[in-house]
């Protein structure tokens, strides 16, 4: 992968300057072996997607086969609808989380008051509200408001899920913009809105894209709200995948194809954003 940031590779102290030692080679081999073992379930799934149904659950397992693309074609119709719903829920909630979160992150980062730390901590604390602690009233409320099985229902909940992440990540990026830039703008007569749109947003674009990737990944993979708040019309990919939860019919190859199509976008996003992933996953506590 090209995603490894080159400056990170350099920070590790090499044990020996001359060629790699025997123990070094062994450790590297062990690392590769473990990586293979960890990846194996996904590899096995990906292979099955290209097998015939008979090959997919053959005993003993089939390792050499002629790949087919039929499974993907069969999975596509149902997948397409779920994909559309997932995209709308993930992107819609990410946009809404940014609309609400960016101004807050800016105000907390550039105009900190005594209460700012408390506000930030409180926002993070909403992440510790398990979904099961709010699902019952939300379900009843959504039922009465006609939001069950709609895109808006999912967008509302995924925004709740991602808003603290957006505020924390963007706060962390925006505090890195030097105050001197704002001061210079103020001398030129910039108001708060100009500072926000003219300085903070353009300068934190890399942070915005990294945070957006993370928010989309989390919304994409979400299961609990999706299962409880949607049934058919707005059902995202997670609900689609859950239809394969019983082994009935044993459509393993088709299931694998659907699973590959479901996880591939997130895998690629995650590999791209892996450096920011750590910062986002730990809410900036580990950089």
């Amino acid at each position: 992968m090209t995603t490894l940031p080159s400056q990170q590779a350099v920070t590790v102290a090499p044990k020996k300057k001359g060629g790699p030692s025997t123990s070094g080679i062994l450790l590297t081999a062990l690392t590769y072996l473990l990586a293979f073992l960890f990846f194996f379930p996904l590899l096995w799934m990906a292979l099955a997607a290209f097998k015939t149904e008979a090959q997919a659950f053959a005993v003993p397992p089939v390792f050499a086969f002629t790949p087919i693309t039929e499974n993907f074609q069969n999975a596509l119709p149902a997948y397409g609808v779920a994909l559309r719903n997932s995209l709308i829920a993930a992107i819609g909630s990410t946009v809404l989380a940014f609309v609400l979160g960016l101004p807050a992150a800016f105000a907390l980062a550039v105009y900190p008051t005594k209460r700012s730390k408390g506000v930030l901590t409180w926002m993070l604390s909403t992440k510790f509200m398990p979904a099961v602690g709010v699902i019952v009233p939300l379900y009843l409320l959504f039922r009465d408001l006609g939001l069950l099985d709609t895109w808006w229902g999912l967008i509302i909940m995924y925004t709740t899920m991602n808003l603290p992440l957006v505020v924390w990540m963007m706060h962390s990026y925006m505090t890195e913009i030097p105050q001197a830039i704002y001061e210079a703008a103020r001398v030129d007569g910039a108001n708060v809105a100009k500072e926000f749109f003219g300085i903070a947003l353009p300068l934190s674009l890399p942070g915005i894209s990294a945070t957006a990737l993370l928010a989309i990944i989390f919304a994409w993979n979400e299961v609990f709200f999706a299962l409880n708040l949607t049934t058919t019309d707005a059902a995202p990919l997670s609900v689609f995948i859950s239809t394969f939860k019983t082994s009935r019919g044993l459509f393993w190859a088709q299931m694998s194809a659907a699973a590959v199509l479901t996880v591939l976008p997130v895998l690629i996003f995650g590999w791209i954003a892996q450096r920011q992933l750590v910062r986002g996953l730990s809410f900036g506590a580990v950089k």
């Binding site: 102290a13 379900y139 808003l163 990944i217 750590v278 580990v286």
Partner: protein
């Protein structure tokens, strides 16, 4: 993608109404209050009633009876215990595996970035995909790959999910969360200054001493982050259980989220589900308080 949030932010009130920093904080705060605090107070309210959606009009106030029922029934206590076992088991395993992998990756070797990408993959997988693939393709007692592996190694094929349900769930969740521990711990290792390691080596420290006296103290913060964030997230595991065991056999793999799901959406028992929800939130927040204390030490709003 990056352009979207900006243009979406543009139509903010401008004329006449002056944008001040505190006005900018309120939309986010109000949203979170409306979608988390308000429903949670409603959950607390419902938890004091005998309230079943099958009989929506009969809703007598019963005080703490739902809580008492939950905390005295042995099956329900098993659910609480399951949540703890799942969380603790996963935590121990992911720390050992993730820590080991982080140490292995904290070296320069060809293809390191590639290996790291491969190793982090399982964390990015949708929990339902994990469960469905493990249950059907890997753990199936007749056709599953692992069963075949056991058989070809001379063992008897195992129906993992009914013979060792909780251990199997822990295995699955560990597979998913090991990359999280690995990534955080690796980042922790990489912030260790080289000169500290070199100084320790010059002083003739053995690898074990080096780990005990240099690496471990430096790792503390990353370890705390892993322990607390993982605890809070694994307490909420739902999709893996929903799609693999449905909480069974019996209640062997039912944790709090799955229990609440069953009470609310299969039995329509809003009162009991709400009380269990409140218990889950209290449990989670007791743990979260530690996390907040720790993280707030490292945050200074507006600090440069």
């Amino acid at each position: 993608m990056t352009a979207v949030p900006i243009s979406a932010t543009a139509p903010k009130p401008k004329g006449g109404f002056k944008i001040t920093p505190s006005v900018m904080i309120w939309p986010a705060m109000l949203y979170l209050i409306l979608t988390t605090q308000v429903p949670f107070f409603m959950t607390i309210y419902y938890s004091f009633f005998r309230y079943n959606l099958v009989e929506p009009d009969r809703r007598p106030f019963i005080g703490f009876s739902n809580y008492l029922g939950l905390l005295t029934d042995s099956d329900n206590l098993k659910v609480l215990l399951n949540s703890m076992i799942l969380t603790a088991g996963t935590l121990v395993l992911t720390l050992i595996l993730g820590g080991g992998l982080a140490l292995l990756l904290n070296r320069t070797f060809p293809g390191r970035g590639f290996v790291r990408s491969v190793l982090m993959s399982s964390f990015l997988i949708m929990p339902l995909v994990t469960a469905v693939v493990f249950k059907n393709m890997l753990l199936n007692p007749v056709f599953g790959f692992f069963s075949w592996l056991v058989k070809s190694l001379g063992g008897t094929p195992i129906d993992f999910l009914s013979a060792y349900p909780m251990a199997t769930i822990i295995g699955m969740v560990t597979w998913e969360w090991t990359p999280f521990a690995m990534l955080i711990l690796l980042t922790g290792l990489q912030s260790l200054p080289d000169d500290q390691i070199e100084a320790a080596r010059l002083d003739g420290a053995s690898p074990l001493q080096e780990f005990r006296y240099v690496v471990l103290p430096h790792w503390t913060q990353a370890l705390e982050v892993v322990v607390l964030l993982e605890t809070i997230n694994v307490l909420q595991v739902f999709g893996e259980i929903y799609a693999s065991t449905s909480g069974g056999p019996g209640v062997a793999t039912t944790n709090l989220p799955y229990f609440i799901y069953q009470k609310a959406f299969a039995e329509y028992n809003i009162g009991v589900a709400s009380a269990a929800g409140v218990i889950t939130v209290i449990l989670t927040n007791i743990l979260a308080i530690f996390l907040l204390r720790m993280i707030s030490k490292n945050v200074s709003p507006g600090g440069h």
